[in-house]
Amino acid sequence: MVEKFKVDISKCIYCAGCVSVCPTAALTLNETRVYCDEGKCVACGVCEKACPVNAIRINKGGK
């Protein structure tokens, strides 16, 4: 299965911006890692827009 949510950890500043805006509460930040519950993610791309360092790529085809 192709993952819908992908984060480039070399860019991520673990600010949790993505977590706050996700409409389905699919994301969790613990310390420095963002985790995505792929079962909840609807590939809407909102987190991708909110990330201040463009660290997220959403694969819309992964739906």
Binding site: I13, Y14, C15, A16, G17, V19, S20, V21, C22, P23, A25, T28, L29, N30, E31, V46, K49, A50, C51, P52, V53, N54
Partner: protein, 397 residues
Amino acid sequence: MRFQTEYDVIVLGAGPAGSAFSKVAARGGMQVLMLDKKKEIGSPVRCGEGIAEHSEADLGIMVLPQAVASRIDGARVFSPNGKTLCLKNEGTKGYVLERKLFDKHLAIDAARAGAHVLPHSLAKGLLVTNENKPCGVKVLHMGEEIEFRAPLIVSAEGMEAKLAREAGFDVKAALYDVDTCFEYEMAGVPCEPFIDLYFSNRLAPRGYVWVFPKGKDVANVGIGIGGSVGGNPKQLLDQFIAEHPELFKRSQPVEFKGGIISVGAPINEFVKDNFMVIGTAAHQVDPIHGGGIGLAIEAGNIAAEVALNAFESGGDYSKARLLPYEEAWTKKSGSKLAKRLTLRKVLEKLNDDDWNHIVGSINEEDLQKVMEGQFKSVVAKIVLTRPTLFKLLSALV
């Protein structure tokens, strides 16, 4: 390690809101557990770290001297073409904090008052009774899943607010009502004791760039832009820095920070049966500048007094018993913030030319009035020289 697992209240998050609540509640005799997923309370920082000096008296806190990075006399607003307005009076004095120390000190204060504090503990989910009322949390701590129980749960989770969401609060942030921010702490920036705000639609669409001094030559240099405008905050900030060699030609970043912050309205309810939401989790943030430290402590204090009342009169934490927090908060800060939200929604429609005109045609006194929510005479003054702004600014009068 064996844990006490039964408490009177569990506080989620050890930011300013959670620590303020925990201190007051513990001092009043409640058994308090405050947990935070961070292993180091206060770090990483997601903040410009500015706070008004009068907050200390207003909030009944003492800012630890070591947590003050620098003292501030006032604020300066820069228009896109470089015109400046400067606000400097008793009310504009402030601090730029070292939040890593500030937040940790507030947590230490809560512990001194008797609260139990547990860092490195992620609250994963809510426990509920048969009637579906919150009665505890599932926590992941050092590889162990622990169930802590209490008749009152307080979300001081900041913008993430995942458990508040699980409890049914509408805390999800909409892109339109947040600013996405990126910030460097930089060495080698010539500093004066002012917080500087640069407005420009080109460089900071619907937001601003800030330079907050943390010493003679160290500053937080950050940018916040509207969440729905779709720009790249880091790229825009780098561009701002490149365009201001007079400030940054010898500067080096020593820390990367960032985050998103609510600049919309507070959430529509702060309490349900057995649950309270305080601080930035409840979007209690100033919509103009995104400041939320003082408001978080204020909400923590008010909510804790209400919780204590419920505790002392037998531990009924029903919504009706918790509502006085919502009412007191709304009375104290609600209408002030609502006015500032209206102002934000007007300012976000201005183009750079309008900004230049406005900053060029009003004076310090006018700016002070605007900050206090008295818009009428200032709008009249601006419209006199630029009638085309009437339609836009009329929303303020």
